[in-house]
Symmetry: C2
C-alpha cells in the first residue's frame, strides 16, 4: 500500500525523508559496520550522534546557556511525578491551571506530593476555552505554576504565556513543542514527550533552569533526579539510543525546512484552512473558542453521529488514517503536527467536502 | 563497510535478519501505509504487534500464569529504586548479594528506601567468584532477597539459583535473560533491560508474581507502580512503541532458532571455546573462578598492558569492534550475547592467536 496521511495524535506521522534515511542506515551507520541500535552508548560513534542531536535541539529552540537539557524516559506522565519530587524545594504547595485532560492528569499526580492550588480551570466550560490570565490565582507561597500549552484531547492551545507572578513557570509542551517559537527564558522548566513533533515515542525532553536543578530530596530515584541525570549527560541509565538518533534525524529535517519560525507559518496555514472548512460546513463543527483553538489537534464532530462510522471507514479507504476522536470526547480528531504535509490537510478537506456532499 | 562483529556489552549486536526485516518494513508495516513508529499505540495494528511480542516472551520463558509481565522504561537502574518502593510491603529491610558492579549499584539505590542486609559478597575477592550459597545470610524479617544473575562488567554468572529461605527472590537478569532456560516459578520478580539479549535499549521487562503486585504506597510515581502498569497493559504512559516492535522481532528470531534451550547450547559452545583459547595462551588471562565464569561477558587482560592499544586497533581493522574492557576493570571484554554468531567468536579467537604469535 502507498503511504497514508496519518492523523494520529501520537505516536504520529514522521517526515518521509527521516524514515528513508533511517532505512538506508539501518544495517550500517556511515561505514561503522553497525546499526545505530547496536552501538555502545559510550562509543565514539554514538557520542557524536548524541552531541549533534542535543546541539540541534538547543539551536532550534534557542535555549539559553543557563538551562540543562535532559533526554529521559517515562513520558510526560513520569514528569507529572518527577516535577514536584524535584522542584518543590521544601514548599507544600504548587499551582496548576486545568485546561483539559492532560492538565487534569498532571494535577492528579502532583496531588500525591503536595497541595495543589488550581490557578484557573475551564472544566465547567467543558475544556473549550482558556480562562483569562487576569483571573488566574497564583499563590506566592507555591513552588511553581504549571500549565499545559496544548491539550491534545480537547484541542485547546495557548497563544500567550501566562504570568507566573514571579514563580518558576512549568509547562507541558508535549504536543506543540517545536511547532512555534518559544521564549525559553520565561520558563523554569519545559517538558515534552517526543512522539508528536519530535520522533518516535520513548524519549522525554526536560529543559530545566539551573537554579531548579539540585533541589531533589535523596529519596527521588536516581534516574529521575535532574541533577544526577544532568551530571551524567542523561546517561545515568542506558538511554534509548535509537530513539535519540531518530529524534536527531527529525531535528536535522526541521533545520533543513527552515526551523521553528518557518514551520510555524506552515502550521498556521494548515490549521487555518482546516478550521475554515469546518466552520463553513453545516455537517462538521468544532466546539473550541476561536482564539484558543489548537494548531496541532483539531477535534470535530459530525452533526449526525450515526455517520461517524461511515466517515471513518471511507476516510481510511481514501488513505486518511487515525481520524477517530479520543474516547472521552468522541467524534473525530485530526492531529496535524509538523510532519503532516499541507497536501495531507488538503486531502482531508477535499474528502470532508465530498462526504458532506454525498451524505 | 561490511558489517562487523560487534562485542559491545550493550547496546549490542542484533541478528541481521531482524535488522533486514525492520529495514524492509520501515516505511510501510504490512500494507498499513505507516511505519511502526508512526502508529498510535491504541490502534489495532500496534495492539497486534504488542500482543504478539508479549505472547512470544511468555512462551520463550515459559512464564506461569500467576505472573504479570510489564514492559517499562528507565532501565534496570530505575528498577533499583522501584523494587524497594513497590515490594517492601511495610518491611524495613531487604537482603542483597554483592557480586559485582551491578549488584553494588542496586544496593546503593535500595539504601535510599530501606536497610540493606548484605547476604553475601565477593567484593574482597575482587568480584571474581560467587560466595557459596551455604554461607549466605538471609534475614527472615527482610522483604526479599536480591541478586544479579550475570555481572556484565566483572564477567561473573550464576549457574544455580540461590536459596531465598522463603523470601521472594528478586533477580536482575539484564545481561543473561533469554540466554538459558529459567524456572520463573522460583522467583518473586525478574527484571532486565532489553539492550543485551532482547533488542535495542529503551525497554525494561519486569516479570512479577501477582502477590507482589499492589503493595506500593501511593507516593510511588504512577508509571512505576507495578499495579497501575499491569492494569494498563504497560501503557499508562505511551510506551516506546518501536522498541517493543524490535523486541518482538528478536523474540520471533529466537523462536525460529529453536528457543532458549537451543540458544543455550550455542552460548555454551561459544563461551567454552573462547575461555579455552584464553586459558591455553600465555598472553591472555581471565581472573574469574571457572565455575562462575559468564557465558555472556568475557573479560580478559593481556600479560603486557602496553599492548592493549595495538590489540584494540588491529582488532578494529579486522572487523572486531567494541572489545575495550570497562574502565573500572581495564583490559578487554568480549560480550557474546545470543545474537553474536559462532563465526564471530571464531574470528576473535583466530585474531587473538595471530596477535599472540606476532607479539
Amino acid at each position: 500500500m502507498a503511504r497514508i496521511y496519518n492523523f494520529s495524535a501520537g505516536p504520529s506521522m514522521l517526515p518521509e525523508v527521516v524514515l528513508l534515511k533511517a532505512q538506508q542506515e539501518m544495517l550500517d551507520w556511515q561505514g561503522s559496520g553497525m546499526s545505530v541500535m547496536e552501538m555502545s552508548h559510550r562509543g565514539k560513534e554514538f557520542m557524536a550522534i548524541a552531541e549533534s542531536m542535543k546541539n540541534d535541539f538547543v539551536e532550534l529552540l534557542a535555549i539559553p546557556a543557563n538551562y540543562k537539557v535532559l533526554f529521559l524516559q517515562g513520558g510526560a506522565t513520569a514528569q507529572f511525578a518527577m516535577i514536584p519530587q524535584n522542584i518543590l524545594n521544601g514548599k507544600a504547595k504548587a499551582c496548576y491551571a486545568n485546561t483539559g485532560a492532560w492538565s487534569t492528569g498532571a494535577i492528579k499526580e502532583a496531588g500525591k506530593y503536595c497541595e495543589v492550588g488550581i490557578a484557573a480551570s475551564s472544566e465547567q466550560a467543558g475544556f473549550t476555552t482558556i480562562p483569562d490570565f487576569a483571573d488566574w490565582v497564583v499563590d506566592d507561597e507555591a513552588a511553581y505554576l504549571h500549565y499545559t500549552s496544548n491539550e491534545t484531547i480537547h484541542g485547546v492551545e495557548f497563544n500567550d504565556v501566562p504570568d507566573a507572578k514571579g514563580l518558576p513557570l512549568v509547562c507541558d509542551m508535549s504536543s506543540n513543542i517545536l511547532s512555534r517559537p518559544v521564549d525559553v527564558s520565561r520558563y523554569g522548566l519545559i517538558y515534552a514527550g517526543t512522539q508528536k513533533n519530535m520522533g518516535p515515542s520513548g524519549v522525554t525532553v526536560v529543559i530545566v533552569r539551573e537554579d531548579l536543578v539540585g533541589l531533589a530530596p535523596k529519596t527521588v530515584p536516581s534516574v529521575f533526579n535532574y541533577e544526577q541525570q544532568a551530571k551524567s549527560d542523561s546517561m545515568l541509565n542506558t538511554p534509548a539510543t535509537y530513539n535519540w538518533y531518530l529524534l536527531g534525524l527529525v531535528l536535522q529535517w526541521l533545520k533543513g525546512e527552515g526551523g521553528v519560525a518557518e514551520i510555524e507559518q506552515r502550521n498556521i496555514r494548515k490549521a487555518d484552512k482546516l478550521y475554515q472548512a469546518i466552520d463553513q460546513s453545516s455537517l462538521y463543527s468544532n466546539p473550541v473558542v476561536k482564539e484558543c483553538r489548537s494548531r496541532m489537534n483539531i477535534p470535530f464532530v459530525l452533526a449526525d453521529a450515526n455517520l461517524d462510522k461511515e466517515f471513518l471507514s471511507l476516510a481510511e479507504k481514501n488513505g486518511l488514517g487515525s481520524l477517530k476522536g479520543h474516547r472521552s470526547v468522541g467524534g473525530m480528531r485530526a492531529s496535524i503536527y509538523n510532519a503532516m504535509p499541507e497536501a495531507g490537510v488538503d486531502a482531508l478537506i477535499a474528502f470532508m467536502a465530498e462526504f458532506e456532499r454525498t451524505h
